[in-house]
C-alpha cells in the first residue's frame, strides 16, 4: 500500500451510532409491548368497575410476581442460547425440602436457607449435564423436570407438609407498606439486579456474545461453559426464591405445587421480546411482559372468564405480537413491489 493514493494516516471516519437513541427506543419491542400493556390497562378499567382499586391491583400482582422472578433469570439463560424447563419442578423439590426441614424443627431463616440451597443445587445439577457433559439443555431439563418432581413425590407421596411458622408467611403474604407486598418488593429488587447484570456488566455482555455465537465467544476468551453454568445456578436460585414465596403464600407443600409453571415462565420471557433462539432480549421487556400477562389474567378473571379461555388470549398474544410486525412488513413489501 506504499503507493496508495491516500496517506495511511487519514483513515476514514466511522461514526459511533447509526441512529439516535430516541429513534432506537421508539422502534423497540419494549415500546410496542408497553403500548399493548397500556391498552390492556385501559380496556380493563372500562370493562370492570372493580379494576381500578389499589387492593385489587395489589392482589393481582400475585398472579405474576413469582413467575417473573424466575423469568428474569430464565431470560438470561435463553439469551445465552439455553433453556431450563425444570424450574417448576425445582420449586416442588425446594418446597419439599423446606417441608422436610420443618419436620426437623427448622425455623424461618433455616427454611429460607434450605429453599435457596436446594434451588442452587438443582441449578448446579442441570448446569453439570449441560456444560460439563455437553448435552442439549432442552432435553436435560425435560429429564430433570420429571426427576426433581419425581423425588418430591417419592418423599411426600400423598402427604403434605403443613404448619409453617407464622413468621414464614411474611414472604408470600406480607405487606411492606399499604398495598405493597413483600413479593412486589422482591420482584422490583430482582428486576433491578438482573437488569443491571444483563445490561451494565461484563457478565451480561458475555451472555449476549455467547447467545449470538458461542464458538466465537469461546475464541474471544470468554469462559463460555462457566458463564452458562452460572446462569443455570441463577435460574435454580430464583426457582428457590419463588419456592420460598409460593410455599409461604400457600402455607403448605404438596408435590404437585407449581405444576406447569415452566411454560408460563417461558411464555413471559418470549413475550418480553427475548429471542428463543438466543442472542437478544432485554429485562425491561420481560418486566412489561410480566405486567401484560398479569393484567390479562386479572382483567379476564374479573369477568369470571375461565383460566383456560384466558390462555387463548395469552397464546394469541404470544404468536400475534411476533407475527403482526412480520405480516405488516410482508404486506408493505408486497405493496411496494
Amino acid at each position: 500500500m506504499t503507493d496508495a493514493p491516500q496517506p495511511a494516516t487519514q483513515a476514514r471516519h466511522v461514526p459511533d451510532r447509526l441512529n439516535s437513541s430516541a429513534a432506537r427506543l421508539f422502534k423497540s419491542w419494549e415500546a410496542l409491548l408497553l403500548a399493548v400493556a397500556i391498552s390492556i390497562f385501559m380496556i380493563n378499567s372500562f370493562a370492570s368497575p372493580y379494576f381500578l382499586n389499589a387492593w385489587n391491583l395489589s392482589d393481582a400482582t400475585f398472579n405474576f410476581t413469582e413467575k417473573a422472578m424466575i423469568a428474569f433469570a430464565m431470560a438470561l439463560l435463553i439469551i445465552s442460547g439455553e433453556i431450563d424447563l425444570s424450574v417448576a419442578s425445582i420449586i416442588a423439590l425446594a418446597s419439599t425440602a423446606m417441608g422436610l426441614a420443618l419436620q426437623y424443627g427448622a425455623g424461618t431463616p433455616e427454611l429460607v436457607m434450605v429453599g435457596l440451597t436446594v434451588g442452587l443445587l438443582c441449578g448446579a445439577f442441570n448446569g453439570f449435564f449441560v456444560t460439563v457433559l455437553g448435552l442439549p439443555s432442552i432435553v436435560v431439563t425435560i429429564g430433570t423436570m420429571s426427576l426433581f418432581r419425581g423425588i418430591s413425590f417419592i418423599i411426600l407421596g400423598d402427604d403434605a407438609f403443613r404448619g409453617y411458622p407464622s413468621s414464614f408467611s411474611w414472604f408470600g403474604q406480607g405487606y411492606i407498606y399499604w398495598v405493597f407486598t413483600v413479593e412486589m418488593l422482591l420482584f422490583v429488587i430482582i428486576a433491578i439486579i438482573y437488569g443491571v447484570l444483563l445490561h451494565k456488566t461484563n457478565f451480561g455482555r458475555a451472555v449476549y456474545a455467547i447467545g449470538n455465537n458461542p464458538t466465537a465467544a469461546l475464541f474471544s476468551g470468554i469462559r463460555v461453559q462457566r458463564v452458562k453454568f452460572i446462569l443455570f445456578l441463577l435460574t435454580g436460585l430464583m426457582s428457590g426464591v419463588a419456592a420460598v414465596c409460593l410455599t409461604s403464600r400457600l402455607g403448605s407443600t404438596r408435590p404437585s405445587i407449581a405444576m406447569g409453571m415452566e411454560l408460563e415462565v417461558v411464555t413471559m420471557v418470549v413475550l418480553g421480546g427475548v429471542n428463543i433462539l438466543g442472542g437478544s432480549g432485554t429485562i425491561p421487556g420481560v418486566v412489561i411482559a410480566a405486567f401484560v400477562m398479569g393484567l390479562v389474567t386479572f382483567g379476564l378473571g374479573l369477568l369470571n372468564v375461565p383460566g383456560i379461555v384466558m390462555s387463548i388470549f395469552i397464546g394469541l398474544l404470544l404468536i400475534g405480537v411476533i407475527a403482526l410486525p412480520r405480516l405488516w412488513a410482508m404486506v408493505a413489501a408486497r405493496r411496494k413491489a
Partner: protein, 513 residues
C-alpha cells in the same frame, strides 16, 4: 489433449445475463451487470471481495431472485423461481461453501432432489448407487457411494460436490473458488476435469482469487468492481497487471513489504506438545518481532495445533514457556491473559460474533480494561473501538452496526482489531488472507510487517507459498501432525517447502531423478 477452443467471436453464448441488479437491505450487491458464458470456454469472473461474484452465482442457480435485468439461455429470456428451475435449465454449480449433508451417504448427497425413481414413485436406491459409483469412478474419487459423508475429509467432500454438479446433465457448470480447499494434487485433477468439460462443449464459469490459475485455465474474463460491470474480454488479450488494475481500480504493488529481519529475545517456547490423534512432538520457539510461518498441505494439523496453543483443545503432553516461565493454558481466556491471541481461519463461525455490534466485538476480550469493577463503560468502549477501527481502516457505516453486515474482509479486520486491542505479545494468524482479494491482501501483509516491527511476535499459518516465503523470517513445515522441517534464509524455496510438506525426502527425489 485439449482441443483448441473455438474462439470465433461470432459464437453465441449459452447464458447471457444483462442489466442484472440485486439489492440487499443497505447493500447494492449488483448494479446493471452483464455476463456471457460461451460453450466450450472457461470464463473467469474476477473481482475484489464483495464485488458480487457469489451473488451472481446464486442468481444464476435460482437461489436469489433478481431485482431487475434479464437472463437469456440460448437467446430465450428465462426466470428462475427456485433452484430447481435453474437445474432444469441445465445450470449446475459447485458453491463457495460446501453445501452437503453429513448424515446422508455419498450417493444420496449426489442425487438428493433428483434421485432415480421406481415405478411406484419411490427412490430407486440400487440404481442411485450404481449411477453414483459410475460418477465417482469418472472423477477418480477414492471412496465409494455408500460411505457416510461425515467420514470424508474436506477435499473428498469437495469431490462429492463436484460429482453432484456432474450428476445433472448440465450445459453450464459454475465453480465458485473450487480450489480454495484443495491440495496441490487435487487441484491438478480439477484442472483436468475442467478440460474434459470444456471438450464436451459445456460453458464454465470459474471464480478465483488466484491469478496463476486464472491465466492457466480461463479463456475469457469478466471483471466486477463494487457490484458493477467493469469489462470483459479474452484472457489471451490481457496482461495480469492490467487485469488487476481493472479489478481494483488502481495498480497494486504485489511486492511483499521489505522488513528488517532483526528479532529480539525469545518470547514463546513450545516443548513436546502432543495430542492423541491430531499432532505430536511439536517443539519450536518464537522471538520478539519475528514472523514465523507455518506451512503445510491442508489437513496437516496446523490449525489443530494452534488451537491447542490457544487453549481450545487440550494437548495430552507438553509445556509452553512464555518469557521463560512455564505457563499452563487451559482455555482461550488463559491464553489471552498471557498475551497469546488467535485469529481463526473460519471467520464466520469462530471469528466475529455476528449479531453483536462492531464496537462490542472489538472490546469483547478487553472488557477488563474498559470496564470498572465489572460494570460496563460505554464511552470507554467506543473510544477503544474507534482507535482500532481507524488503525485498520475499517469500512463501516457506524460502530454500532451489526458486524454481520460487513463484507468478509472487513469482518476480518474487526477480528484483528479485537485482538490488537488486548495488546498481545504473540498473535497467531490462521490463513489471514484466505479468500481475501488482492488489494486487501497487500494491506494485510503490510500490516503484519508493521506489527512485527512494533515488537509483536507473529505466527502466520498459510498454505500459499509466495506469502510464506515473502513474509516469514522462519518457516516451520508440518506434515501429518508433525514438524517436518524448520527452514530459514536460503532454504526458503518453493521446491523445498513442497518437498517437506508432501514428504518427499531428498534421497527419494534423487532416485526419481
Amino acid at each position: 489433449m485439449t482441443h483448441p477452443a473455438p474462439h470465433a467471436p461470432d459464437v453465441t453464448p449459452i447464458v447471457s445475463m444483462d442489466m442484472i441488479t440485486k439489492t440487499f437491505p443497505g447493500v447494492k450487491a449488483l448494479d446493471d451487470v452483464k455476463l456471457d458464458l460461451y460453450p466450450g470456454q472457461v470464463t473467469a469472473l474476477v473481482g475484489e471481495n464483495g464485488a458480487g461474484k457469489s451473488t451472481t452465482v446464486k442468481i444464476l442457480t435460482g437461489i436469489y431472485k433478481t431485482d431487475g435485468g434479464t437472463i437469456r439461455i440460448d437467446g430465450q429470456p428465462v426466470s428462475f423461481a427456485a433452484p430447481n428451475d435453474a437445474a432444469k435449465a441445465g445450470i449446475t454449480a459447485i458453491h463457495q461453501e460446501t453445501v452437503l449433508f453429513d448424515e446422508l451417504s455419498v450417493a444420496e448427497n449426489i442425487y438428493i432432489g433428483h434421485a432415480p425413481k421406481t415405478r411406484f414413485g419411490l427412490i430407486d436406491t440400487s440404481e442411485m448407487h450404481r449411477a453414483a459409483s459410475a460418477l465417482l469412478a469418472e472423477i477418480g474419487a477414492p471412496f465409494n457411494s455408500h460411505t457416510q459423508l461425515r467420514e470424508l475429509g474436506i477435499a473428498n467432500k469437495h469431490l462429492v460436490a463436484i460429482a453432484r454438479a456432474l450428476s445433472v446433465d448440465a450445459r453450464v457448470v459454475i465453480m465458485d473458488e473450487p480450489t480454495a480447499a484443495l491440495s496441490h494434487k487435487e487441484i491438478e485433477e480439477l484442472y483436468d476435469l475442467v478440460d474434459t468439460l470444456k471438450s464436451q462443449g459445456k460453458a464454465i464459469l470459474f471464480i478465483s482469487h488466484k491469478f496463476d490459475e486464472i491465466f492457466r485455465i480461463a479463456d475469457r474474463y469478466t471483471v466486477f468492481r463494487d457490484g458493477a460491470f467493469v469489462g470483459d474480454g479474452r484472457i489471451a488479450d490481457i496482461a495480469e497487471d492490467d487485469l488487476v488494475t481493472m479489478m481494483v481500480g488502481r495498480s497494486v504493488d504485489q511486492i511483499f513489504p521489505a522488513r528488517a529481519h532483526d528479532v529480539g529475545e525469545e518470547v514463546l517456547k513450545v516443548v513436546g506438545y502432543e495430542h492423541p490423534t491430531e499432532f505430536s512432538e511439536i517443539n519450536f520457539s518464537l522471538n520478539r518481532g519475528e514472523i514465523l510461518g507455518f506451512y503445510g498441505l491442508v489437513g496437516a494439523g496446523r490449525s489443530e495445533f494452534m488451537q491447542a496453543l490457544f487453549g481450545i483443545t487440550k494437548p495430552s503432553k507438553g509445556v509452553c514457556r512464555i518469557n521463560g516461565d512455564i505457563t499452563v493454558i487451559r482455555s482461550p481466556a488463559d491464553a489471552v491473559s498471557n498475551g497469546i491471541v488467535y485469529v481463526p481461519e473460519d471467520r464466520g463461525k469462530q471469528g466475529a460474533v455476528i449479531g453483536l455490534p462492531i464496537f462490542q466485538n472489538i472490546t469483547l476480550p478487553s472488557l477488563g480494561r474498559t470496564s470498572r469493577r465489572g460494570f460496563l463503560q460505554m464511552a470507554e468502549e467506543f473510544k477503544l473501538a474507534r482507535e482500532y477501527s481507524q488503525r485498520l481502516d475499517l469500512r463501516a457505516a457506524a460502530l454500532d452496526q451489526d458486524v454481520g453486515n460487513l463484507s468478509g474482509g472487513n469482518q476480518q479486520k474487526v477480528v484483528i482489531a479485537k485482538w490488537l486491542a488486548t495488546q498481545p505479545q504473540v498473535i497467531i494468524l490462521d490463513e489471514p488472507t484466505k479468500g481475501i482479494d488482492i488489494g486487501s491482501k497487500a494491506a494485510v501483509h503490510e500490516f503484519m510487517a508493521e506489527l512485527a516491527a512494533q515488537g509483536l511476535s507473529v505466527i502466520m499459518v498459510s498454505s500459499e507459498i509466495p506469502e510464506v516465503i515473502g513474509m516469514s523470517d522462519r518457516v516451520i513445515v508440518m506434515r501429518e501432525g508433525r514438524i517436518a522441517a524448520e527452514l530459514n534464509g536460503a532454504d526458503l524455496s518453493p521446491e523445498i517447502l513442497v518437498r517437506h510438506a508432501a514428504g518427499i525426502t531428498s534421497s527419494s527425489e534423487g532416485n526419481a531423478a
